[in-house]
């Protein structure tokens, strides 16, 4: 459908089918109804809104979001149901990948996915360890705003100095974890550059894309450093929160982001994914 030959687009995001559809509430009997909506539904609607607005500005725009759906270990029945349900809801899914559990990482790598989103933090962690950019798909309430995609970047991951990263070992983070955080910063950069380009096509107001920086632990200088670094990467963040240790769940409950990119910090903090 869209021209994919441009060097900048599309921005490929991978989702898992069990986030897009809610399989727990499906009855075992075969029926012709579509699968019920899952936790990633509002995300995909918001992504589609961004694409629509981008195409409004430029019909031949190539820097668009492309969502691919990954499904591990499912029966032929379910595979069919997935494809049908996607059609039923009018979702724009670029590709489907049905693979085995062990093949997930390879599938993501070979498709040059710019971001793998999941509500399962173990999957996110595994992907990060393998060098795939991955972030938490934040659990959404049903009545969430559909016409704006909200992305949160961790100010700590972007703004921490080398010293600050290394001092995390005193606090109990392992060497591997610290290396994961540093690697996350590099992954974030690529994604941020593309999002920054997309964001620039809209003005300050009425943008379908909203970017936030959330600094949980760092001082204000860390927050300022994160904002300036993102600017260097071409992304002018819209919103900033600096918490210096204050609880972040109440703030996340107000922001209701779709994507929470914090390099695996959430594994340590055991983030509750219920809104």
């Amino acid at each position: 459908m869209e021209d994919k030959k441009s060097c900048t687009g599309p921005l490929m995001i991978a989702l898992q089918y069990n986030d897009l559809f809610d399989l727990d509430s499906v009855s075992t009997s075969i029926n012709t109804d579509a699968l019920p909506k899952g936790r990633a539904f509002t995300f995909i609607k918001a992504v589609q809104t961004v694409n629509e607005r981008l195409l409004e500005k430029n019909k031949t725009e190539s820097l668009l979001f492309e969502v691919i759906l990954v499904a591990k270990e499912c029966s032929e029945e379910i595979k069919l149901k997935i494809v049908e349900s996607v059609k039923h809801y009018g979702l724009e899914i670029g590709k489907f990948f049905f693979c085995k559990k062990e093949e997930l990482i390879n599938t993501l790598q070979s498709n040059k996915v710019k971001l793998f989103l999941s509500t399962d933090k173990n999957d996110v962690n595994e992907a990060l360890h393998s060098g795939i950019p991955a972030a938490l798909l934040y659990d959404q309430a049903d009545d969430h705003v559909l016409n704006q995609l909200k992305v949160i970047f961790s100010g700590d991951v972007i703004g921490f100095s080398e010293d600050s990263f290394d001092s995390l070992s005193d606090f109990g983070f392992s060497e591997t974890q610290i290396e994961t955080f540093k690697a996350a910063k590099i992954c974030m950069k690529e994604f941020a550059i593309l999002i920054g380009e997309m964001r620039r096509k809209f003005g300050q107001e009425n943008s379908p894309l909203c970017t936030c920086v959330l600094t949980s632990w760092g001082s204000r200088n860390v927050c300022a450093s994160a904002l300036k670094t993102l600017r260097e990467w071409g992304l002018d963040a819209d919103v900033a929160f600096c918490l210096a240790g204050a609880p972040c769940n109440p703030i996340l409950a107000v922001v209701k982001p779709h994507i929470l990119w914090d390099g695996g910090f959430h594994n340590m903090r055991d983030l509750s994914t219920q809104s």
Partner: protein
Amino acid sequence: MSEINQTQVASVVKKEATSEEIDWAAAKAHFENLKSTKPRPPKPKYAVTIAVSSRTLFDMVAERKIFEEEGLEKYVQHQQDHENEPLTPGPALPFVKALMTVNERLRNLYPESEELFDIVLMTNNHAQVGVRLMNSINHYDLSIERFCMTGGQSPIGYLKAYMTNLYLSRDCKKVQEAIEEGIAAAIMFKPDMETQLSETQLRVAFDGDAVLFSDESEIIVKQHGLDTFFAHEKQHENKPLAQGPLKCFLEALGKLQKKFYAKNERLNCPIRTFLVTARSAASSGARVLKTLRSWGLEIDEALFLAGAPKGPLLQKIRPHIFFDDQMFHIEGAKEMGTISAHVPYGIGQKYNKGKLIEPEKQQK
């Protein structure tokens, strides 16, 4: 609730508590590692959190003009272009510095305590403007480590998330919303002339009716006149007045004052509170004092003006902030150099200098 649900809830609560503890511990470790003399911010649930807007902290009159005349894009660009030029102080800056002084004294006496003032910058500015704000905060060496820059959205939804005890802004609508949400809030005004303020003691002055207390008595004055008011107050002398929007803030100040008293520092306490009321001591003062007593609250100085103008007296007191519900008093205080904050609550909003304002002219 069924047993299963209770366990689920308990486990979610436990998870949240763990994540909160981790965030707190990590931030603490980070600040300690900074090896600077900067104090780290207190734990919000024990602290008295004051949220200030960017226009109360700094003077942004010129920048505001650009926003209003040339629009948002030009405004943000202007702020970015002048990012490394610190902004000049706004009406809340002396108040913030006084809070920092109290914190220093508290940390000396109670090094392990988290019962301190916490200051949050709460603004609906875009994060890009935030860089200039942070540079300005650095310039004045203010202890502000917590921010909320909402990029155009109303910050009111975040006040509770940041556990705000007092919200100061220059925007009437936002302050009204905050008060409706049950958060103490006031609109700050810059005084017409500068006054020398104490650098060792935080001085806070409050009006009584419709600020510390509800507007129940104010209603009687406005609708039935002074004589009825006096009779009513005498009759109900022993019945405590209902609380007003700023009662909780006075309570929070009182709690911190008691920490100094406990260490024998009453004479040298860096917090002093004043009641500046138009009531007269003889006819309607007793009820006020008895109400405060019934709440277990103390006020250091109670000044009954019996209707005399507040400006000259406030000029002598020199508070870092003076809260009043009536614009008439705010104007009077402002003219004589007092930093005033309007509390848009109660029946006083419908009147100007004792006369009922036409409905169309009432503030939104």
